[in-house]
């Protein structure tokens, strides 16, 4: 009886452990990362608004500002697949899949850093 109890306890612990692991924040490959334009906590909350504001300034006034999407991708592309998309550990995709927020930036914008996308195009030719 005692053995059964112990086994049940171990099993319940295991199950709760996996559940806990699932609800923890996604493990992201942040590429080069580090402090860039603002601290990560601020960026986590406000990057959407910052990018939205920046895009209007860039397209309509021609000012490549500090919140340029190219700059984000250049630093945060994974060192494994050279992209911010692809797997659920990639910088943009990882969080957006976790939060179930559709991301449509990369239907038009390049998800790879400048040098990588250049070589890819050369190879495609």
């Amino acid at each position: 009886m005692k053995r059964l109890q112990a086994a049940l306890l171990a099993m319940s612990l295991l199950i709760s452990g996996t559940v806990l692991a699932d609800v923890s924040v996604p493990h992201l490959d942040i590429g080069k990362g580090g402090h860039c334009v603002n601290d990560p906590k601020y960026m986590k909350l406000n990057h959407g608004d910052l990018l939205k504001r920046q895009r209007t300034i860039t397209v309509h006034q021609g000012v490549i500002g500090r919140y340029s999407l190219i700059r984000c991708v250049n630093c945060h592309a994974s060192k494994v697949n050279h992209s911010v998309l692809g797997t659920n550990s990639n910088f943009c995709q990882g969080c957006h899949v976790y939060a179930a927020v559709k991301i449509d930036c990369f239907e038009c914008h390049s998800s790879r850093p400048e040098t990588v996308s250049e070589t890819l195009r050369e190879v495609a030719k």
Binding site: Q61, S110, S117, R121
Partner: protein
Amino acid sequence: MSGDLNRREFLRSSAMLAGLAVAPGVLLYDLAHGKDQPASSSVRWGMLIDTNQCEEGCDDCVKACNKENGLPGGTGPADEQWIRKVELKNIKTGKITSLPMMCQHCAEPPCVDVCPTGASFKRADGIVLVDRHLCIGCRYCMMACPYKARSFVHEPLHDQKPEVPRGKGTVESCTLCVQRIDRGENTTACAEACSKAGHKAILFGNLNDPDSEVSKRIREVASTRIRADLGLDPGLHYEGL
């Protein structure tokens, strides 16, 4: 009376002090973040295309544009073409004229007039662009353009150039290589390719600067705008038409 003077002096000196305090901060911020000046209406980008120099059968400008902007390079009705080579034949004389045709960057662009979302717009420096964040793909602008200069992206795209975002469901056209202009360069891919091929048929520059090469040439030679009768004041001038 003396009180009024004192007040005036006080305001003047405090304004000067405020200026001294604010100016270095603004300057330092700009230096630190590499902030560019926004596009200014003191500049108007335009071109002079010399059709006498444009060689029949040469499409170096088209190839250069495709490479610069990451376009696939097809010439079918559903393919994106920002610049085309057009050949005109005068039926009476038989003279063939070859010229590149693209967005004419009108001062009074009909594409901007008809756009229901404000996606089609003219920048302060005269470049007519599509803000694809706002474009809903209705294609009114394509119907309004008398130059047939705009294309619609029908298929999903991959591996766009980082500086030239393009995507399915939006309209696009020649941007006068806006990414180069914003970097401070003073040439477009087509003009560069044309000089490289030795034709020098495309002259790009600031039409508002009387000392720019393009302004000087427009003053010297007879040039015309295509469909000048529409009164759209295009930024592209053609010589030898």
